[in-house]
């Protein structure tokens, strides 16, 4: 049992995922797209193993490591934010959320550095080769999700700051949290698949 179990407000249906069901429909759709993209990457690689292995070496694994750690940490902060609001502590909730957003910012800055290297220094684009097509498509699509997630978390933080959430009613926090964890989840597969597996 997790720490937060005890703080579930009375009346919450244990068969429903945390947050608004609408966001889960959206999450499922997004996960679906990423799943197809991952499978497409793997099966295309089958016919271009040499090419994929060669250009994978051009990627900045250290940057990807920092980004993975940033996203995991950020996700952890969001978990703490949800726990805080369940303990009826909006002030802590806001702080954890802001910490999570700043980790997201770390991700964005590092990723932009990576893109700068590939796009400007190396002069790579979507049409350079199949590997870069997948690398750019996957990471850029994910990158936009990170930005979207940061916007959502910021909005949730503002609402929390205004005192809209409490231990009794905090669906909004859970909704934003679920989306952010999805962004993290996708990266956890993307990182080994694109940067490490060869």
């Amino acid at each position: 049992m997790t720490a937060s179990t005890q703080a579930i407000p009375a009346g919450t249906d244990p068969r429903r995922p945390p947050g608004d069901l609408a966001i889960w429909i959206f999450i499922l759709a997004e996960l679906g797209v990423f799943a197809v993209f991952f499978a497409a990457y793997a099966f295309t690689r089958m016919n271009h193993v040499e090419l994929f292995n060669q250009y994978q070496q051009h990627l900045d694994r250290r940057a990807a490591l920092i980004n993975t750690l940033a996203l995991i940490t950020s996700s952890y902060f969001v978990v703490r934010a949800v726990a805080a609001i369940r303990e009826d502590n909006p002030r802590h909730c806001v702080n954890w959320l802001l910490a999570a957003v700043s980790m997201g910012l770390v991700f964005v800055v590092v990723k932009l550095g990576e893109y700068h290297h590939h796009f400007v220094v190396e002069g790579v684009n979507l049409s350079t080769n199949t590997f870069y097509m997948f690398y750019i498509s996957l990471t850029f699509f994910h990158f936009m999700h990170v930005i979207m997630g940061m916007v959502i978390l910021s909005a949730v933080a503002v609402m929390a700051k205004k005192g809209k959430y409490s231990a009794r009613e905090h669906t909004g926090v859970e909704t934003g949290a679920s989306y952010w964890h999805m962004v993290d989840l996708v990266w956890l597969i993307l990182f080994p698949l694109v940067y490490v597996m060869r």
């Binding site: 919450t12 249906d13 609408a22 684009n125 979507l126 936009m144 979207m148 669906t171 909704t175």
Partner: protein
């Protein structure tokens, strides 16, 4: 109590999701615009035949060729694909001109026939050059066969 599925959230997803994917679409469009010069044979448009090709496209549109034919697979499916007709005619401008010029005025009994448009030689050249230009666009290997 927390509501399971709210209209507000559905609305936010609609606006947020649409804006998100439209921006992504614009980003891809931006990249495409950068890539097109290496694929869309615009060199031909800027070259010595540029004006002739432009004239050809005008004639192509003015006579609603797309109303029967397809061009790169788009149009009506009543008459042959013309995106690769230049190649199908053995890379021959004269072949295309001759075909268009020789259509019977009253059609062919019982069969589909292209109308007789009474083009001048200059117009025929323009149309043929236009079709040559289109045939040199990089279409990722489409169509699968020369028959279109």
């Amino acid at each position: 109590m927390a509501q399971a599925f709210t209209k507000t959230m559905a609305r936010n997803i609609f606006y947020g999701g649409s804006a998100f994917f439209f921006l992504l679409f614009l980003a891809l469009t931006f990249d495409t615009s950068g890539q097109l010069p290496s694929r869309d044979n615009r060199a031909a448009l800027d070259g010595p035949m540029g004006e002739t090709i432009a004239k050809g496209k005008e004639l192509w549109e003015k006579n609603d060729c797309i109303g029967c034919h397809t061009l790169l697979g788009e149009g009506a499916y009543f008459a042959p694909e013309l995106g690769n007709v230049y190649k199908r005619f053995g890379n021959s401008i004269d072949g295309i001109k001759g075909f268009i010029a020789s259509r019977p005025k009253d059609g062919i009994p019982g069969r589909r026939s292209m109308p007789q448009f009474n083009f001048t030689d200059e117009e025929l050249t323009a149309l043929a050059e236009f079709l040559k230009y289109v045939s040199e666009i990089n279409t990722a290997g489409w169509p699968p066969s020369d028959n279109g």
